[in-house]
Amino acid sequence: MLKRIFSVAALASLVLGTATAQTSLTGSGATFPEPLYRKMFDAYNKQTRVKVNYQGIGSGGGIKQLTDKVTDFGATDAFMNEKELAAAGAPIVHIPTCIGAVVVCYNIPGVNTGLKLTPDIIAGLFLGKITKWNDPAIAAENPKVKLPDMSVSVVHRSDSSGTSYVFTDYLTKVNAEWKDKVGMNKSPNWPTGIGGKGNPGVADLVRRVPGAVGYVELVYASVNKIAFAQIKNKSGAYVTPSLKSASAAAAVDLPDDTRVSITDTDAKDGYPIATFTWLILYKEQDYNRRTKAQAKAAVDLLWWVVHAGQRYNEGLYYSQIAPAVVKKCEYLLKSVTYGGVPLLK
């Protein structure tokens, strides 16, 4: 039923697209890179007259709409797992477009900057085991900071989110108790705290509630001037989240399909809660009566995103992908075919 509605909608957009003699592409998914995609697609439209409609409906929705074959591409903060790939029915290509960092932000009166947190402290806070900001474990890492005797209020996402996925993916890697009790999920079963809807919702609650601790994308903490913590990475260094340290986290050996988690990175100066975010598309583009022109337009768009489009990243607080990653993307995009024939040379 739902599928039928979507295909009608797709058909309608197709009809409208040809009527205006303008190629139009449709994609949907992750909300985290949505500002970047909007900016990129707007610029792309001005350059090429190709119109790209992007709906930020969440990573899960993006995967679902792509595999329901109602969109030209999807977008996700968490790469598709084996089960999802199997359900897709045909090979899917992942193209990383930027690197995002999730920061642990806090609202401790008198502590405006520079709080240092270890992985275990973060897990302790979000498990509800550390309930006071002057807990000895925090004090030990922050000898110069005057920590108040204040209750910790955990703030998390109330909606299903790729940000939650990255954050819990990190905690699952670094803390055994977290792995047992909660694990990684886009909507995990939070042991404690209050939920805010979307990054703005969490940022707003953290700003309002004294003693709050939450997690948001770097851009939201920066724009809203909320204090965020330095985090001890795998090699024992305290790293401040930034575009640079997030980029550094991605300097790892990348598998050929780019499906890799870069949380808890091995990189020495890498920020440990960082992630790629991907655009996804079918490797064989001849499906659901799409035209070759449509398929070509999709691949051209993605090619542009990983090359010329990258210059928009940093202005919007997203890290660029490293040249080595771009190389992999080129290789992957060249493997995309229409009727078995590669679309790019």
Partner: protein, 331 residues
């Protein structure tokens, strides 16, 4: 209502006679003699069909909603059975779903809202239904009330964030609770404001309907106006007031956006009124968009079904109370 009914059946009777085989020829002749009458009769029948059609559509819609909720929640119904109602864990990653925290959250916020709103909605009803029935002040208050009813709930959510949350936060700090600001109490207060117009406007209508002679009877026994209102008018219109309350409760049970913004969105049974919680409606709003797994979707839909049932039960209960309490119900 009763009059409408009797009119209707009075009209229906001659129509039946005309349809009867034996009587048909003469009445047809008579009818042909007066074309205007015939046209009136056809119009009558068409009008009736239109009305019946409207009723039928309502029936189909309700049945359709119920059916689609049931069909879509089959995976969850099969997986958990009645234990779903008592389950307290909501863990999409572990595939474990229980409805209790949300049922508790829904009922708690709705009834708390009702409790907060009653003093205001009752006094508003009395104010508009007895003290200021006409005049510029009454018009002003009435307009304001209509305005309250017309404000989109997201605006209530925002207003709650800016006015109620800081107040509750200050209170929580004062009494040593975690100063979340958001939680059951904040959501309930804002809900209370949202539902005031519903119970107040119905209360006003029914209080206006109290017969003048009853009020005079009480006055002639030396009752003051307050006594007339509290001991004669309110008891007389009790069933209507209950109807207003039921309406308001239904609104409170289903309110989504404002609650989502203020309740704290914590998937657990609230430990106290200041704790964050989650209602069925707010949970669905939060999770349905990205509910990937079938069981997760089905569980959310089953919660929708539960909300439907709760609302239906309260409506039925309200109707029962109305029938029990209504004046002349015993005769």
């Amino acid at each position: 209502m009763a009059e409408f009914h009797s009119l209707n059946s009075a009209d229906a009777r001659p129509a039946e006679n005309k349809g009867g085989a034996e009587q048909a020829p003469p009445s047809f002749k008579a009818a042909r003699g007066r074309v205007g009458r015939t046209r009136g009769r056809i119009g009558e029948i068409l009008f009736k069909i239109l009305l019946t059609g409207g009723g039928f559509v309502v029936l189909v819609i309700v049945a359709g909603i119920l059916l689609s909720l049931i069909v879509n929640s089959v995976p969850s119904l099969a997986a958990f059975g009645p234990a779903f109602l008592a389950g307290t864990t909501w863990n999409p990653s572990g595939g474990e779903f229980g409805a209790l925290p949300f049922i508790v959250g829904t009922i708690l916020t709705a009834f708390l809202a009702l409790f907060f709103s009653l003093p205001f909605s009752l006094s508003l009803s009395v104010l508009l239904g007895e003290y200021f029935r006409k005049g510029p002040f009454a018009a002003l208050i009435r307009t304001m009330m209509e305005l309250l009813a017309g404000i989109p709930s997201v605006i209530y959510g925002l207003a709650g964030t800016f006015f109620i949350v800081p107040l509750i936060q200050a209170l929580e700090m004062g009494i040593g609770f975690v100063p979340y600001g958001v939680g059951i109490i904040s959501a309930s207060i804002v809900l209370a404001v949202m539902i005031i117009p519903y119970s107040a406007s119905l209360g006003k209508e029914v209080l206006e309907l109290v017969p003048e002679e009853l009020k005079e009877g009480a006055y002639s026994l030396g009752a003051t106006r307050t006594e007339v209102v509290t001991r004669i008018m309110v008891p007389y219109s009790f069933s209507g007031i209950i109807a207003g309350i039921t309406l308001a409760l239904g609104r409170a049970l289903g309110e989504t956006i404002a609650v989502t913004m203020l309740i704290g969105n914590m998937n657990a049974i609230p430990e106290n009124l200041f704790a964050p919680g989650q209602t069925i409606a707010s949970l669905i709003a939060n999770e349905f968009n990205e509910a990937g797994a079938d069981l997760h979707r089905a569980s959310l839909l089953e919660l929708g079904l539960i909300l439907f049932v709760i609302t239906a039960l309260i409506t039925i209960l309200g109707k029962y109370v109305i029938r029990k309490m209504s004046v002349g119900g015993s005769s």
